[in-house]
């Protein structure tokens, strides 16, 4: 797909609803209240929080050992199912509640070098350096700014009316299914910005080191899951291989679903580069809130989603320990009510359905001049 995203195209109307909600004074007050939530929670961190992350890590590693162990007997269907399920859960926990959050620096306050953003490497083909750049920086700073946040469509999907249409997007339902299935590989290649490479906006020499690092990480992950563990099982090579592949697929689909529910359901706002010029902290808070959506559910669901079900709170406070998001959510929601701001929180199927509808709708050109999201007048 060579559909260039030209931001300065005249048909884009810079209509920002951001300030439609609050005047300058209210915005600053809102920012101060959000800040106060952050301060209060961060200053109350203690050994209970430390015990939480260590407990999750122990569970994750235990489940992984159990999963890999059971898969060695994977020739028997119940063991194969048990092994694959445990390994899937372990991989989901590792990537989402542990890896993603540790790499955000959520647990740096413990000063434990083995649970620290500077050292953590996760069970995923995307190396930590590439992840931290494309995710922690590009996505979290420029959330939902079309053309700046590369997570808007991951460079291959059209997820915003603001992205010009191209016939290749007719295949978007298929592209989308492929992205979901191979999500970790997509994420790994994400930071290479291959679309920009093809268009010549980025030189190959600039990304050579990145590519070398990505290849190395991919090699290690493939060797582990698809060569060594199957070999170790001897005659049961195949069940182990299939179990590992399934676990990776399950993790891919799940993390894709949760992540897409975070920013693309109807009702989340998109922004234009001019919306973020000279942005203040309070403005950034407001934009993070409007550009994110929560998924409602029980405690186990929140853990399994890496607490990205509290996407709004995660975007307001990316470095707050994830076990505190539920608590922050109550306060943030109350603040939103007070200021008359939308707070997008719905069950999984509602959010996911809405995202899938968008994928289908945007595979076709814009028929009406739809707006980018509900403006306050509509809301």
């Amino acid at each position: 797909m060579n559909t260039a995203l030209k931001l300065a195209e005249p048909e884009i109307t810079p209509q920002s609803p951001v300030f439609g909600y609050l005047n300058a004074e209210e915005l600053e007050q809102f920012g101060a209240e959000i800040d106060a939530v952050r301060q209060r929670i961060l200053s109350s961190l203690d050994e209970g929080d430390a015990a939480y992350i260590r407990r999750i890590i122990r569970w994750q590693r235990g489940l992984e050992v159990l999963g890999r162990g059971a898969l060695f007997l994977g020739i028997l269907p119940p063991f194969w199912l048990l092994g694959t399920a445990s390994l899937s859960v372990a991989k989901i926990l590792e990537n989402m509640e542990i890896g993603h959050n540790v790499m955000h620096g959520q647990w740096d306050w413990m000063r434990d070098p083995s649970i620290h953003s500077s050292t953590w490497e996760w069970d995923n083909v995307c190396p930590k350096e590439e992840w931290k750049h494309s995710h922690n920086f590009m996505h979290h700073k420029w959330t939902n700014v079309v053309g700046m946040d590369r997570d808007v469509g991951y460079g291959i999907l059209r997820m915003s009316e603001e992205q010009p249409w191209h016939p290749a997007y007719l295949f978007q339902p298929i592209t989308n299914a492929l992205l979901a299935s191979f999500f970790q590989w997509g994420v790994a290649l994400h930071d290479l910005e291959t679309d920009r490479l093809r268009r010549g906006e980025r030189k190959w020499s600039e990304v050579k080191d990145k590519w070398r690092r990505i290849r190395k990480k991919m090699g290690k992950q493939v060797l582990k899951d698809y060569v060594l563990f199957p070999l170790l099982a001897g005659p049961f090579f195949l069940p182990v291989l299939l179990g590992n592949a399934t676990a990776n697929l399950v993790r891919n689909l799940w993390s894709y679903a949760i992540i897409f529910c975070g920013h693309f359901p109807e009702g989340t706002h998109e922004f234009l580069p001019e919306d973020v010029e000279n942005e203040t902290q309070a403005h950034w808070y407001l934009r993070q809130m409007l550009g994110s959506a929560n998924i409602t559910g029980g405690p186990l669901f929140h853990i399994m989603s890496g607490n990205l079900s509290h996407q709004i709170e995660h975007h307001l406070f990316p470095d707050m320990p994830s076990n505190r998001y539920a608590e922050a959510a109550k306060e943030v929601q109350a603040i939103c009510e007070k200021y008359g701001l939308p707070y997008n929180a719905k069950p999984f199927w509602a959010q996911f359905g809405s995202v899938m509808k968008k994928v289908l709708r945007l595979s076709l050109p814009n028929f009406s001049s739809r707006s980018k999201g509900p403006t306050p007048q509509q809301a």
Partner: protein
């Protein structure tokens, strides 16, 4: 050995991106990453201190009497590290080690070790360090200690007794009073059994302080002795000054207190460029603490300016080095962040 290596290599490939010890830790916390030790005993040492007996894991390399270790403990979920002298004799790989921690009224870590730590807890230990060690051959020794400066010398005494030192020894120890004099009974018993001279002085109870005349009276051969000193600055400086004039043997000094950081500096805004964080660091907070408060984990050792384990590049701005008592503003200079404070704005490669 070769099979061990192969096993390790395959283990690492299977456990990637972690190491096998991440899983071994599930069975026994001592098998986790790094040097760790289990607390096997905690005993009061006089009214203001406790002695810990630690059983290190398989990664421990052993230590010589007089060396110190950096102990890491988690307090309210946060890892804190402090250096303590070992009080045990030379130890090899699997041997237990001991150390003694005196309570300081405002010392977070010393208070925790005295009141919060429990037998069975696992603590983090960095490999033993330090040049405060006994000479290779039996020579006359002059050991001068004050207060909790006794701790490394206690390791010496236990080692000397084990070894049966064949040369005269004077141990001159200062403590505020008899009650708080650490290891008094054990030291007296050792001196008696080994025929060493032990002189205890309690200035609070009117005993005479350190002087050349008194030293000559107690240990006339001191000029040819190997001199070791560990104690408060006043005592240590007096010994060093006298030794410089008259001593002929070597002198080894162990520091056990960080230089006092007088609030003379300015403090300022410090940027940790790699972590991309900026903090306000007051004149009384050293840069190591400032970095830790910001959630960073800089490499370090003694935290008192003597090991150079915390050297960090000053990228711009200026800092005040309290150990050297100077202001450093050279771009690219390596500074000991544990004894430096900000002096205006500064950027560090952390």
């Amino acid at each position: 050995m070769a099979t061990m290596n192969l096993l390790n290599r395959v283990g690492a490939k299977l456990a990637t991106p972690l190491l096998p010890n991440a899983y071994a830790e599930l069975i026994n916390p001592l098998w986790g990453e790094g040097v760790r030790a289990k607390v096997v005993a905690i005993e009061p040492e006089g009214p203001q201190a406790v002695s810990l007996t630690l059983k290190p894991n398989h990664r421990w390399q052993g230590a010589r009497a007089g060396q110190h270790v950096r102990l890491g403990v988690d307090i309210k979920g946060v890892r804190h590290q402090r250096c303590y002298s070992l009080t045990s004799a030379d130890s090899t790989l699997s041997q237990r080690i001991t150390l003694t921690v005196q309570r300081h009224p405002h010392g977070l870590v010393s208070q925790y070790i005295n009141h919060g730590l429990r037998v069975g807890d696992v603590v983090h230990v960095a490999p033993a360090q330090g040049e405060f060690v006994l000479p290779a051959n039996d020579e006359p020794l002059l050991l001068i200690t004050g207060g909790s400066g006794i701790t490394p010398v206690m390791g010496f005494l236990r080692q000397l007794a084990e070894q049966g030192w064949q040369a005269p020894i004077l141990h001159w120890h200062f403590a505020p009073n008899a009650e708080v004099s650490l290891f008094k009974t054990e030291r007296q018993a050792l001196a008696k059994a080994q025929g060493w001279q032990l002189h205890e002085a309690y200035p609070e109870q009117g005993d005479e302080g350190f002087s050349a005349a008194k030293l000559d009276e107690l240990f006339p051969q001191w000029r040819n002795a190997h001199v070791y000193v560990c104690g408060p600055a006043g005592l240590a400086n007096a010994v060093v000054a006298l030794h410089e004039e008259e001593g002929r043997g070597p002198l080894v000094q162990e520091f056990f207190q960080p230089p006092a950081i007088a609030a003379t500096g300015e403090g300022g805004e410090v940027t940790f460029t790699r972590a991309n964080k900026t903090v306000q660091a007051p004149a009384t907070t050293n840069l190591l603490e400032a970095a830790e408060a910001a959630g960073l984990t800089p490499e370090h050792g003694c935290r008192m300016g003597i090991c150079y384990g915390c050297l960090t590049t000053l990228e711009s701005g200026q800092v005040r080095d309290h150990a050297a008592d100077e202001i450093i503003d050279t771009e690219g200079a390596l500074v000991r962040i544990c004894v430096c404070t900000a002096e205006g704005n500064a950027a560090l490669a952390l």
